[in-house]
Symmetry: C2
Subunit: 268 residues, 2 copies
């Protein structure tokens, strides 16, 4: 997988998210100029997904992480509405159920990994297990380190078995989160998206930043890269992510498979 995105986290580099741009808009000056590009990307993704589905050679796993309100749901809605839902599974990882909590932390993620031919989107993921429990000191630093190693092993195994993994950290500033929460409070139709926990977790912003610094520094690998996507501008976030998806899927050079038999012999 050749990648030349400016938002790629180079493997084994040391990341500090606060130093990376959240408000960047790349080569676009306005939302209007980016809109037709997103339309084009969606159309390309639609075609690329059909070949992925037909060829059954590769699975594509897309991991979305970010602070609350960073735009994980919106990314899915804006980029993947237009994809054939038959070829695309979304798994939203919430607080573990009692059964999930009795399993190892990779169990529920593993069972949701897309099979060949499918796009799987993780809305949050196994990375949650090195975020909230770490920030709230429910696990030791040694456990965090062990889990990050486990994740690298897990993702390498998946890649070896045909899963293409792309991981996106949706990077917003603290100020942008403030304004998004305000907007949700002011819009009754969005109240269902609010929970008191969001406001509580917000107090731990710096702790989450530190946890993400470690995740991005430790688990961006050639086979399973992280991208830190400037996400203060939703429209740019959508274009930046869809561009990477198109580039990577085109790079797979998948083809429609031949028939398993010679259809020219069939008489109708």
């Amino acid at each position: 997988m050749k990648l030349k995105s400016p938002y790629l986290v180079k493997p084994h580099s040391t990341v500090r998210v606060t130093r990376l741009p959240a408000g960047d808009t790349g080569s676009f000056k306005t939302e209007e100029s980016a809109a037709p590009v997103l339309v084009k990307h969606r159309s390309q993704l639609n075609s690329l997904q059909e070949v992925l589905y037909a060829s059954q050679q590769k699975a594509l796993l897309i991991v979305l992480q970010g602070m609350d309100t960073a735009g994980k749901d919106g990314t899915i809605r804006h980029i993947f509405s237009g994809i054939n839902p038959q070829g695309c599974d979304v798994t939203a990882f919430k607080v573990p159920t009692p059964l999930e909590a009795r399993h190892d932390f990779l169990w529920r993620a593993h069972s949701a990994v897309p099979p060949k031919g499918m796009i799987g989107i993780f809305n949050r993921s196994h990375y949650e297990d090195v975020l909230s429990p770490r920030v709230h000191k429910l696990i030791s630093g040694k456990t965090v380190r062990k889990r990050l190693d486990d994740i690298n092993g897990f993702e390498e195994m998946l890649t070896d078995n045909g899963v293409v993994i792309l991981k996106f950290f949706l990077h917003i500033s603290h100020q942008e989160q403030t304004s998004r929460l305000k907007s949700r409070i002011d819009t009754p139709d969005k109240h269902w998206k609010l929970s008191e926990a969001d406001f509580h977790e917000r107090k731990f912003w710096v702790g989450y930043e530190e946890a993400y610094n470690d995740i991005l520094s430790s688990t961006s690998r050639k086979h399973a890269p992280w991208f830190v996507i400037p996400s203060n501008h939703k429209w740019y976030r959508n274009v930046a992510i869809s561009q990477i998806l198109v580039d990577v899927m085109q790079g797979l050079k998948l083809k429609y498979p031949p028939s398993t038999f010679d259809p020219s012999h069939i008489k109708l």
Copy 2:
């Protein structure tokens, strides 16, 4: 659920699919005149799905059945591309796996039923178990009858628990199947969709028609109605189905739920 579609199978009526229109195009004379209606339906479904997701009061289960090439995949692609994939799960029922075959015939269907808030699409379904095994005489008439009763009980139980069930039989003529198979043979990019089994099963067309007559006559219920959709014209099939979906989802009168707490107290 009030339904006034001309394609509704009235509960306890006796159906003969050969007497029902496969080539109907309703009030539309041309594909061009129907196209903007489908665009409108897709946009309406997109909004209705978001409220369904937010309110978590109801699940919507859509069952798609039909002869080979009737257009089950195409229906999903054309109507549901545009839906947020996070709110929509598609399950394609294939030949049962060894594990599935060791379970009762409703087991795998039950585990794929959408939870409240979700749209679930069954591409083929539990109705396969009263089709192929019946046509090939692998089960007795008594077993067919018992399974149809079991299905009615199962679907009634689901409805009692918040699942709205809509079942569509995509009705094509034998001649239309011939022309679709020919087109697949002539298009190399579609060869992956061909299997020798399709051509073999085609010889049992009349047997499948009889099996569908029994299914439609026995399992169309007020709580889980069947619609026989004229599907020779793909564009009309899409409009006819999406119209029913919009009508039913609007009829649910779902609303965005209020916040679980008073957000006006929050200080940011």
